[in-house]
C-alpha cells in the first residue's frame, strides 16, 4: 500500500521505460482532447467535444461515488477476510436515514453526518453481535451477510415503500457551472464553454478528500499501521498485544459509516429507491475484483475504470454499454486474477 511517491515513480520509469512513454503520450493526448478546440475530422470520427468531455467528467465523478462505497467494502475485507454482502444495505439504509434527518431538520449536512454515524454504529453492532461469533468461518459469515441484506431490503421496503426519494441539497450545490473548457467556437468567433453540474464536481471533491484521508489514516497514524499489520498477518498482530477485536470493530465502523455517507452523497446525485442496495453492492464487487480485494488504492483505480466504462458505454453505445463493465472484469480476471493492485 505504501510506495512513497517520487522514488516509486522513478523506479517505475527505469524498469518499464516503454510503458512509461505510452502512459505519458496517452495523458498528453487526453489533455489535448480536453482543452483544444476539436478539428473537423475528429468531430466526424467520434462526435462532438461536448459529449466527450461531459462523459469523461461523468465517468470520473461516478468513479468517485463508487470509490466512496467500495473503499469501506475493501477495507473490511482486507482486515477481516469478511465479504460483507450486506454492504449495499448499509448504503441504502444510510441514505434513507439521512433523508429523514435532512427532511426533518432542513439541513442536508446534518443528514450526511447522521447517516455516517448511524451506519458506523450499526456496523459495530453487526461486528460485535454477529461476526464475532463466527470468526474465521468465512463462508458462514458471507452467507449471514446475504441473509441480512435480504431481510434489510424487505424491512426498508415496508418502512419507506417503493417510492423514489430525492434529497434537496443546499441551493448553492444545485445547478450547473461553466468550466474553462471551450467546446466549440461559433461562426461569430465567440467561444462556447462547457457547463457541468456543481454537485457532481462536489462528489468528486468529497471522494478525493475521503481517499486522501484514508491514505493518510492508514499510512501515517499508529492505528493505520496496526490495520496494515493486521491485513498482512492477523495472528501475529494479536500476539504482539494489540486488541484485535477493538480494531475490527473500528474498521467495521469506518467501512459501514462510509457506506452510509455514500448513500446520502449518491442519493443526492442520483436518487434512492429499493434495489439501489443490490446495484451498489454489485458495483462495489466489480470495483474490488478489478482493483484487488483489500487494497484501497486498488479500489480507487477500479472505481475510476468502472465509472468511465459505464459512462462511455452509456454515451457511445447505450444498448450494449453494460457489457463494457463486465468485459473489464473478465479481462482482469483472466490476466491478473488477484486484481490490478491485489497481492499475489
Amino acid at each position: 500500500m505504501g510506495d512513497s511517491g517520487a522514488g516509486g515513480m522513478r523506479q517505475f520509469v527505469e524498469r518499464h521505460t516503454f510503458w512509461a512513454i505510452i502512459i505519458l503520450l496517452a495523458a498528453a493526448v487526453l489533455l489535448w482532447m480536453i482543452f483544444a478546440v476539436w478539428p473537423e475530422w475528429l468531430i466526424s470520427a467520434i462526435g462532438r467535444k461536448k459529449t466527450f468531455v461531459n462523459t469523461l467528467l461523468n465517468g470520473v465523478t461516478l468513479g468517485g461515488l463508487y470509490f466512496l462505497v467500495a473503499s469501506g467494502f475493501t477495507l473490511v475485507f482486507g482486515l477481516m477476510r469478511n465479504v460483507n454482502l450486506a454492504h449495499g444495505s448499509l448504503y441504502l439504509l444510510g441514505a434513507y436515514i439521512g433523508y429523514e434527518v435532512a427532511e426533518a431538520s432542513g439541513n442536508w449536512f446534518l443528514g450526511l453526518a447522521v447517516a455516517f454515524l448511524a451506519m458506523a454504529a450499526s456496523g459495530v453492532l453487526m461486528q460485535v453481535l454477529i461476526f464475532r461469533r463466527m470468526e474465521g468461518d468465512d463462508l458462514r459469515q458471507t452467507l449471514v451477510t446475504i441473509a441480512i441484506s435480504i431481510i434489510a431490503a424487505d424491512l426498508m421496503l415496508a418502512v419507506w415503500t417503493g417510492t423514489t426519494y430525492q434529497f434537496a441539497p443546499p441551493e448553492w450545490l444545485f445547478g450547473a457551472t461553466t468550466l474553462p473548457i471551450v467546446s466549440v467556437v461559433k461562426a461569430s468567433g465567440d467561444p462556447v464553454f462547457i457547463k457541468y453540474p456543481i454537485y457532481r464536481l462536489t462528489v468528486l471533491g468529497v471522494a478525493l478528500t475521503v481517499g486522501i484521508g484514508l491514505w493518510l489514516f492508514l499510512n501515517r497514524t499508529k492505528i493505520g499501521m496496526m490495520i496494515r499489520a493486521g491485513v498482512n498477518d492477523r495472528q501475529m498482530l494479536s500476539a504482539s498485544g494489540v486488541n484485535v477485536q477493538l480494531l475490527f470493530a473500528l474498521v467495521f465502523a469506518i467501512g459501514a459509516g462510509l457506506a452510509g455517507f455514500a448513500g446520502v452523497v449518491g442519493g443526492t446525485a442520483l436518487s434512492i429507491a429499493p434495489g439501489e442496495d443490490i446495484r451498489y453492492l454489485l458495483a462495489s464487487l466489480i470495483v474490488v475484483i478489478v482493483g484487488g480485494l483489500g487494497s484501497v488504492t486498488g479500489a480507487a483505480i477500479g472505481a475510476l475504470l468502472i465509472g468511465l466504462a459505464e459512462q462511455f458505454g452509456l454515451a457511445y453505445f447505450p444498448t450494449y454499454g453494460v457489457v463494457l463493465t463486465f468485459l473489464i472484469m473478465v479481462v482482469v480476471l483472466a490476466v491478473r486474477p488477484q486484481g490490478l493492485m491485489g497481492e499475489g
Binding site: N54, T164, S271, P274, P318
Partner: protein
C-alpha cells in the same frame, strides 16, 4: 418414473376430491405486479387498483368468495414467469391478473398457452404483440396498450407545438418500442424527423443519465422521453441539474403520478410537457371523479391521484369480477363459459366504455394531456382532448396494420 406417476396420480385424486367443496365457496384469483426493482412504486399502485375493484365487489362475485393471492416480479420476463407459475401451479389460481411491464406481458402470454384452463387478464403491460401477433386464447387485455396510448400526440406536437425534429430517449424493451412507434408513426407521416442516431435506448434501472444527456443533439426541437418510475425521476432531475433547455414530450408513464408524485424536489420545469395515455388526472367527468374519490378514501397515503397502473389493474380486475357474475361463479368447465363472457363483456370504466376486439385487446378512450400545477401545488396531467374509442390497429384493418411491421428500435425509420 412409474413411482413418480403413481404419486402424482394419488395427489391428483386427492385434489380432485377436495376441489368440488372448495370450488363451491371460493374462487382463487392471483394478482402479479412489480413489487421489486425500478418499477416498485408502479407495482404498489397497481395493487391498489386490484384492492379497489375487490372492495367494490366486497370480495364476492357470482356468489363466490374471492381469495386473492399476490405475486411479485421485478419487470424482467423471467421473474414474471416464475411468479405466475407459482401462482398457477402451486397456489392453483383460476383467474390471474397481471403483469405490469411490457416484456413481462409477452412472456406471460406465451405461458398462458400452456395453461388453457386458467384465465389470464393483463395488468398494465402494454407491449403491442401481447395481443396483436400470435395472441393466446385465454389472455385478455381490458387496458389499452402503448401505441394506443400515444393516439393524437404525434399530430399534436407537429401541428400545435410546431416541432419538426426530435430526439428520442427510451428504455430498451418492448413497451417503449411500442410507445415510440405509436408516437412517431403519425409524427413522421406528417413530415417530422427522428433519425436513428438521435434515438437513445437505455436499460431499465439505469440511474445515471448525465452522459446520455451530454450526448443529446442540440439541433432538435424537443426530446421525446419514454422512461418509467425511478428511471424517469432520475432523468428529470439530472436534466434539470445540467441546465437542460429543450422542451420535453412525455411517454404515458414518464410524467404520470408515479413520477410527479415522487418525494423530493418538485419538478416545475416539466409543467407544460405534453403527453398522452389511458387516463387524465383532471378529466372533468363524474365517473373519473368518483374513482379518484374512492382511491383517496381507501388509500390516504397513495398518490394525490391514481396512476394509470392503478387504473389498468382496476379495470382488468373489475372485468374479471363482472364476468364471474355473468357465469354465476361457475368455472367447472375449465373456465370456457367464463372466457366467452369476458370476450363479450362491455362495461363502464372510470375513463368511459371499454370493449374488446377479436384478439381480446381493449378498444377505449385515450387522453391527450399536458402537465399543469394543481390547486394544492401538486403536479397533474390536465386534459387537452379525449380521443374516442382508439383501437389497437389505430383505425386500420388488421392486415393493413400488420404492414407497418413489428415495433422495434428502428420502426418507423423517420429519417
Amino acid at each position: 418414473m412409474f413411482r413418480l406417476g403413481k404419486t402424482t396420480l394419488v395427489a391428483a385424486t386427492v385434489l380432485a376430491m377436495a376441489s368440488p367443496v372448495a370450488a363451491q365457496e371460493t374462487v382463487k384469483m392471483g394478482a402479479l405486479a412489480t413489487l421489486e426493482g425500478a418499477f416498485t412504486v408502479l407495482g404498489e399502485d397497481s395493487m391498489r387498483g386490484v384492492y379497489m375493484a375487490l372492495e367494490e365487489f366486497n370480495y364476492t362475485a357470482g356468489g363466490k368468495k374471492i381469495e386473492l393471492i399476490t405475486g411479485s416480479s421485478d419487470a424482467s420476463p423471467d421473474s414474471a414467469i416464475r411468479a405466475t407459475r407459482k401462482l398457477v401451479e402451486q397456489d392453483g389460481v383460476q383467474v390471474m391478473v397481471g403483469p405490469l411491464s411490457g416484456s413481462e406481458g409477452l412472456a406471460v402470454k406465451d405461458y398462458a398457452k400452456t395453461q388453457p384452463n386458467v384465465t389470464f387478464l393483463n395488468g398494465s403491460s402494454a407491449a403491442q404483440d401481447t395481443t396483436l401477433r400470435d395472441p393466446a386464447d385465454n389472455f385478455f387485455r381490458f387496458g389499452t396498450e402503448g401505441a394506443q396510448w400515444m393516439a393524437g400526440l404525434g399530430e399534436y406536437v407537429y401541428k400545435e407545438k410546431g416541432y419538426r425534429k426530435l430526439a428520442v430517449l427510451a428504455e430498451d424493451y418492448s413497451f417503449p418500442y411500442t410507445q415510440v412507434f405509436g408516437f412517431l408513426e403519425p409524427f413522421c407521416r406528417l413530415g417530422g424527423k427522428a433519425p436513428a442516431d438521435a434515438r437513445f435506448w437505455v436499460p431499465i434501472g439505469n440511474k445515471d443519465y448525465s452522459s446520455v444527456i451530454a450526448a443529446l443533439p442540440d439541433d432538435v426541437d424537443a426530446i421525446y422521453v419514454a422512461l418509467g418510475g425511478a428511471d424517469a425521476v432520475n432523468f428529470l432531475t439530472q436534466y434539470e441539474q445540467t441546465g437542460g433547455e429543450l422542451p420535453l414530450i412525455g411517454g404515458s408513464i414518464t410524467v404520470d403520478q408515479t413520477v410527479l408524485g415522487s418525494k423530493g424536489r418538485t419538478r416545475d420545469f416539466v409543467v407544460g410537457t405534453p403527453s398522452a395515455g389511458p387516463i387524465s388526472d383532471t378529466w372533468d367527468d363524474s365517473r373519473w371523479a368518483g374513482f379518484v374519490a374512492a382511491y383517496k378514501k381507501q388509500f390516504p397515503d397513495g398518490f394525490p391521484s391514481p396512476s394509470l397502473f392503478a387504473h389498468a389493474y382496476y379495470v382488468n380486475t373489475k372485468a374479471a369480477l363482472l364476468a364471474l357474475d355473468t357465469v354465476d361463479g361457475n368455472l367447472s368447465d375449465g373456465g370456457k363459459a367464463y372466457r366467452a363472457a369476458l370476450a363479450a363483456l362491455e362495461f363502464e370504466t372510470p375513463t368511459g366504455m371499454v370493449k374488446l376486439d377479436e384478439r381480446r385487446n381493449a378498444v377505449a378512450d385515450i387522453f391527450l394531456t399536458e402537465v399543469a400545477e394543481g390547486p394544492d401545488g401538486n403536479l397533474l396531467n390536465k386534459t387537452i382532448k379525449v380521443i374516442p374509442q382508439v383501437s389497437q390497429t389505430l383505425g386500420l384493418s388488421y392486415d393493413e396494420f400488420l404492414k407497418y411491421g413489428a415495433v422495434s428500435r428502428e420502426n418507423p425509420v423517420c429519417e
